[in-house]
C-alpha cells in the first residue's frame, strides 16, 4: 500500500490557497471575498492534514480542528459585518466602504 507523497498534497494545498488569494484580489463582491477567505483557510488546514499524515501524528488533525473553529467564528462575525455594510450602503461592492465615517 503506497501512500501519497507529501509534495503532492502540499502542492494541492498551495494551489487551493493561491486560487483563494487570487479570488480575494480580483473580486469586488464582499461575499465572494469572504468565500475566498474560507477557501484559503481550508487550504491551510489541508496542509496541516498532509503534514500530520506524513509523520502519522494526530497533531496536524488537531490543528485542523482549531482552524475549523476559527473559520466558524470568522464566518459568523464576517457575515454580521456584511449585513451591517449592506444595510448602511445598500450595496455589496467593497469599494463603496472606503470611508470611515459614523
Amino acid at each position: 500500500m503506497t501512500s501519497i507523497p507529501i509534495e503532492t498534497g502540499l502542492l494541492l494545498a498551495g494551489v487551493l490557497f493561491m486560487l483563494g488569494l487570487i479570488s480575494v484580489m480580483i473580486r469586488r463582491n464582499i461575499i465572494f471575498m469572504l468565500i475566498s477567505v474560507e477557501i484559503m483557510l481550508n487550504a491551510a488546514g489541508l496542509a496541516f492534514i498532509v503534514a500530520g499524515s506524513h509523520w502519522a501524528q494526530p497533531d496536524g488533525q488537531i490543528m485542523f480542528i482549531f482552524i475549523l473553529t476559527m473559520a466558524a467564528a470568522e464566518v459568523s462575525v464576517g457575515l454580521a459585518l456584511i449585513l451591517q455594510i449592506y444595510h448602511q450602503l445598500k450595496t455589496l461592492n467593497s469599494d463603496a466602504a472606503n470611508f470611515m465615517k459614523g
Partner: protein, 185 residues
Amino acid sequence: MEIAFYIAAAVAVLATIMVITRYNMIHALLYLVVSFLAVAVVFLTMGAPFMAALEVIVYAGAIVVLIIFVIMMLSLTREDVEQEKAWLQPKLWVGPALLSFVLLAELVYLLVIAEMPAAPAAASYVDAKAVGLTLYGPYILGVQLAGILLMAGIVGAYHLGRQKKKVIHRFLQEKEPQKERSAAI
C-alpha cells in the same frame, strides 16, 4: 488509493476555479460545496477519516448554509420570481452534479476497497481515538482557547448583527438631555 487522491484533487481544483469565476453567488456556493466535499475525500485518502467527517459537517454543512442564509436575507427584496425560476434551469446544476458524481463513484470505490481485509486505508492512518486523546491531553489549553474564541464570535456576531438605527458613541452625542446622560453613565 492514489488514484482516488488524484481524482479528488482534480475535482477540488476544478470546483475552486469554478467558484472564483462565477457571477451568481448561489452557483458559486454550489461549487464551493463540491470543493469542500472533494477536500474531504482527500482527507480520507490521507488517513484522516474523522477530519473528513468534520469537513463535511462543518464546512459543507454549517458554514455554507450560513452564507446561503445571509445571501437570501440580502437579496430577498430585489430578486423577483423570474430570477428564481431562471436559477432552476438544468444547465446551472449539471456542473456541480457531474463533479459530485465523480466523488460518489470514488466513495463507492473506497467502500468496496474497505471490504477487503487489507491494511488500513492509507499507510499513515490516524484514527479518531488518537486525535481525541491528544486533543484533550497536551492540547487542552488550545481547546479552552477555542471555546473562548467561539464565545467571542457569538457575542461579536450578535453585537454586529443587531438592527439598530444609528450607532453613535456617547462622547460624540452633542445635544443630549442632561438627565439621560447621567442615567447612561
